[in-house]
Structure formats: structure tokens, C-alpha cells
């Protein structure tokens, strides 16, 4: 279990290095002793992003919200900075970590921990049905036969954990250049992002051949949750199935 960052309502996770994985600040660090008009977390806050507000400042330091010219928080006055045109995106849950191996260290608990520390097992198999479909797509796109051969049945399991697991050729999370080596997988193909519920969602990293859940490609920027036992396809013949590992089942 890791500590949640409470600074300015951040809600990010504190990594093992003591810094928040979202805002980079250090919950629990001593408050600034000089030059700070109001202590962190106290005093007026920005109506849009909740950051603490320097009395006398005309713009929010965090999001650029215009305090003076905005009559209500919902109608900020347009400024050249793009961040004022639309509300900032919701904080990612959980935020990406600098340590994809998932070594969250903190033992303190400041607020309910939204992310159960979980180990999952990704089973990488060859999928003949998917391969047939890939070859058909290849033929219609290129006019000739797909040069990639089906390697036969393969199955291996990779233990995954941590907020972000990158999938690709020589990627740190799930390395698909390993046997049976799917050549249609990109170097950075897809990533698994841990959800607050403790399950993973998959997102495509703008790969050449796409990431498919069922037979649907994942659209740019879209994140698709994978239920325990659920799977998705990448490359010419690869299927990845996610199962809770021992610690996730106990959680």
C-alpha cells in the first residue's frame, strides 16, 4: 500500500523515492519556513484546480486560471495559454510511476489508498484465429501473402505489477521480441495502466498495427479496461490474457 499525496488535493501516489508520482512534491516534507505567504494546503485555493492560491496573485500558478477576470469558476476568461481554454484533465488514477516495476515503498497511510498493490499474470499465447485474420488484412492491404509465419503453439507467463506496464519489442514490461517473437509488434506497442479498482486497462501507444480488444481496434487516446481473465491481441499472432496473481486474489 502506498501513501496518497494530499498536497492541494493532488491525490497522486507517493513513490518509493518519497515524491508524488503526479505532482512531484513531497508529502510529509517540512513546510517552507520563509517566503511562503500561506502554508501549503491552507488559505484560499484556485476555484478550478484546487491549488493553493497566493493572495495577491492574479493568475493560478498551477493552471493559469485568471482570478481577477473570472466572474465564476465555470466561465474562465480566455487567455492565450491553452490550459485556460478547458479544464485540466482529471488526474490519472493512478498516476504513472517512475518505477514501472512497482516498488511502492511508503508504509504511512494518509488517506484511503485507492490502489491495491497487486500482482497480475499476463499469459502470452499464439492465436491462430487472430493470425488468420491478420493475414487476410495483409492480403487486402498489400496484394500479396503475409511474409510472417505462424510459429506454432507457444505459451508463457509474465508477472506484471506497478502502475504502468509497457508492452513491445524489448519493452521493460512485456517483451514481445522474446520467443516466439512477433515481428508485427512495435517497439512501444501498448501499455497497461493500473486502475483504482486494482485491475488493468490497456491503451495503444500509436503502434503500427494496432491493439485489439475483441476484434475492435483501440482508438487513439482510448483506454479499455480488461476484466480478470480478459484478453487482447497485438501483432500478427499474439494474444495476451490477464489473470490476477496470488497477491491480487488475496487483496
Amino acid at each position: 500500500m502506498s501513501l496518497a499525496c494530499g498536497i492541494d488535493g493532488c491525490g497522486g501516489q507517493v513513490a518509493s523515492d518519497g515524491f508524488c508520482d503526479t505532482c512531484g512534491r513531497q508529502p510529509g516534507a517540512p513546510e517552507p519556513t520563509s517566503g511562503a505567504p500561506s502554508p501549503t494546503g491552507a488559505g484560499p485555493t484556485c476555484p478550478r484546480c484546487g491549488s493553493s492560491r497566493d493572495p495577491g496573485a492574479s493568475f493560478c500558478e498551477a493552471c493559469g486560471f485568471d482570478f481577477l477576470n473570472a466572474s465564476t469558476p465555470s466561465t474562465p476568461v480566455a487567455r492565450p495559454a491553452p490550459s485556460t481554454q478547458e479544464p485540466p484533465p482529471e488526474p490519472m488514477s493512478p498516476a504513472g510511476g517512475g518505477n514501472p516495476q512497482g516498488a511502492h515503498g511508503g508504509s504511512r497511510t494518509a488517506s484511503p489508498d485507492p490502489v491495491p498493490a497487486a500482482d497480475w499474470q499476463a499469459t502470452v499465447t499464439t492465436d491462430a484465429v487472430w493470425y488468420a485474420r491478420f493475414c487476410e488484412t495483409w492480403r487486402s492491404a498489400h496484394g500479396d501473402d503475409c511474409p510472417i509465419r505462424f510459429p506454432g503453439d507457444h505459451e508463457r507467463s509474465v508477472r506484471i505489477s506497478g502502475p504502468v506496464v509497457v508492452i513491445g519489442r524489448h519493452a521493460a514490461g512485456i517483451d514481445l521480441a522474446d520467443e516466439p517473437n512477433d515481428p508485427a509488434v512495435s517497439h512501444r506497442h501498448a501499455s497497461l495502466v493500473l486502475q483504482p479498482e486494482g485491475t488493468y486497462a490497456v491503451t495503444d501507444l500509436d503502434s503500427s498495427n494496432g491493439t485489439y480488444v475483441g476484434s475492435e481496434p483501440i482508438a487513439k487516446g482510448q483506454t479499455v479496461p480488461i476484466a480478470p481473465g480478459g484478453s487482447f491481441n497485438v501483432g500478427a499472432f499474439t494474444r495476451i490474457t490477464l489473470e490476477p496473481g496470488v497477491s491480487a486474489r488475496e487483496a
Partner: protein, 422 residues
Amino acid sequence: MGFTLSVAQNEYLPQGATEVHAIVTVVADEDTEVTSADKLTEIIIIDVSTSMEGERLDQARIAGATAIDQITDGARFAVIAGNHQATVVVPMSRADAATKTSAKDIVGRLHATGGTVIGAWLRKADELFAAAHDGINHALLLTDGKDEGEARQALLRAIGGCEGHFACDCRGVGTDWIIEELSTISSALLGTVDIIPSPAGMPAEFARIIDRAMSKNVGDVWLHLWTPKGSRLGYVKQVYPIEGDLTGMGVAVTELISEYPTGAWSPGESRDYHLCLQVPPSRVGEERLAGRVSIASSGTVSQTTLVRAIWTGDDSLTARICPEVAHYTGQADLAEAIAGGLDALKSGDASTATVKLGRAVALATEVNNSQTLKLLQKVVEVVDYRTGTVQLRPEIAKADQMALETRRTVTVRVSGDRGEVP
């Protein structure tokens, strides 16, 4: 392979400042298992257009044979003869005494005819690499001329199609090739570019390039960078041993994490990266992590190093200059001054050329880059190194001018010790 990272920066920022600079040094482990040769694939691409006829092709035949000799037994290799088309003269084979002998025989009988369509050569190489087993893929591309007979867009598309599939070191022999074309290829394909002024220099250069390619033992290494919410990336550049901007090559892994390709590494290899990060402002007394940097490759992530920002009202802290940051900023200015000076020279503006190349001399002196200084001295006569007072040489050989242009991004470390020349 494991990597060790360290960071040099002045983490203290004055009130209101948001820009954080850091130099991250990455060192690949020395004591790592020997590369298994079957991971290595090499393609040698030799220009056989009509202009190569004569001494250039004679030396290219010898250089090709020398290169083939340098290929480790067990590695895969192929040879492409390039003109207006790409001909696979030596098909992809596993290197052993017999395949090397027959390949050298074929290369020894190359003859010159036709034009120069470099995009076709790259597409053919990419095709051969795709059929080869996955691993550490490297190409050596030699040309003596300008890309012709294809639209600029076609060349750019061909380059884009190869990105991430193989590394490509480009060499131009003589002075009729276009630096911009080859440097576009080498920077997109994480390789180097250089001039071989005289054909006789080809064999030694080929041997050096292949030797280095054969020493790589991890093929696909990424700089993994986390930055806090609300921050913006100024740039990520490799600054040693050669400058190269990676900013546009990043792959966003999450909203806050991007990975930047660094290509293949040899055991013991060491490189420096300059990170410029724009962090959200904070109050004096606050600290914020500006970045977490690590190296991701083949199923592992290295130790993470931290880039910090601490806001303080103490001028003695914020005024400190980080020597590494200043040193590499100086070398970036040096490369820019050279480029500007040579541009002016090409357009006939001698006075601007003199000023900019003079500034380059002063900068090269300051950062102690003796190799660059030597190249500059072939173009200008130095009156005063410190102030950068120079005179253009009356006769400037085109090869010297091209050598200065292609090698201007080769850097040295703070101590002034010489790095590997590309």
C-alpha cells in the same frame, strides 16, 4: 545489460523560475555477457552509380571486403548494391569462412552504372531486416552523390519506414554528396554521418564502423522520463559523444511518462543527455521533483535518477553554475556558430562568416574541443583564440568545409578528454 545513471544540475531556482536543466550521464555495464553473434545483423549498402566508376569503386570493393572480414562469425549479413534501384548482391546469410569468401568475391566484381535513388536502398534494407530474426540491426550506407530520381517526400517516407528497425551509419565519399540528405537519414536512424574525403580512406573507415557495430550487445534502449503533471518538456538531447535531438522521437507511455530511443549500446559505453524541463512554479522554500530518469531495455528498467527543483531566496545558491550544463550549452552554441558561419560562407557573406566562425573558435577554445578547433583552423586562420579573432583562409577546400559541417556536433566531456569520433 545494466545501466548506471547520474545527474549533474544546479537544483536551486530563484523565485518565479520554472526552467530546470540537467545533464544525465548513462553508463552501460562493463562486465556483461558476450554478445551472442546471432543477435547481430549487418547490411552493407554500397553506391554503384556511374559516378563511382574509377578509384571510388576500386576502393569501395576493398572497403566492402574489409567490412565483411570484420563481421563476427555467426552474425547475419547482406550486401546491397545501390543505384537507381537496390540490388541484393549478397543475400542475407550467416557469416562463416565460406559465406564471407563468396561475399567478398561478389563485392570485388561490383561495377558502376545508373543513378542514385537512396530511398530505394533504404526500403530494400528494411525488407531484408524484417525477414531477419529480431536483434541488433545495423546498416552502413556509402554514397558519393546526391539523391536523384525520387521526390524528396519519397526519401523522407523511406526513412520514416525504417525508423526503429535498424541503425544506419552514413558515409559520403568525395564532396559531391549532400550533407543534409545523409544527416537526415543518420539522425532518424540513430546513426552517424561523416565525410570520407579521399577514396583511399574507405577501407579503414568501413572496418571501424563494422567493428563498432559488432561490439553492440543490447539493441533497443530507451530513455524513460517521468515529469510531473503540469510540466512541459523543453528538450531531451544527447550531448555526448555526438549531439542529437531526441525531443521529437518520444513515445508517450502515459500522460506523465515518455520514452526516447537511444539505439544500441556496447558494454562500458557512456553517453550524456541534456534535459530541459519546464516545471510548474512553486513558492520559495518548496521542493518539487522535476523528473525521474531511467533506462528501459529488454524487460528491465535501470535504477532511477532524480532531477530536482528547489526554490530559494538565497542568491548564492541560485547563482551557482553547473559546470556540465554550461559546458554542453557551450558546445551546442559552438555547433550552431559553425553552422551559421558555413551558411554565410556558402551565400558569399564573408563578413558574417568571419564573425560566426570566430565565435566558434572562441567557444571551441573555451570548452577545450581540440578536434573541432583543428577542423576550424582549416577554414580560418586564428589570430586570437580567446577572443575569436580570425581571418577566412583565401582557399578553402570543399572537403574541409564539409568535414567541419558534418563533425561540428562531435563533443568532448568537461575534462576535455576526447570521445569516440563517429
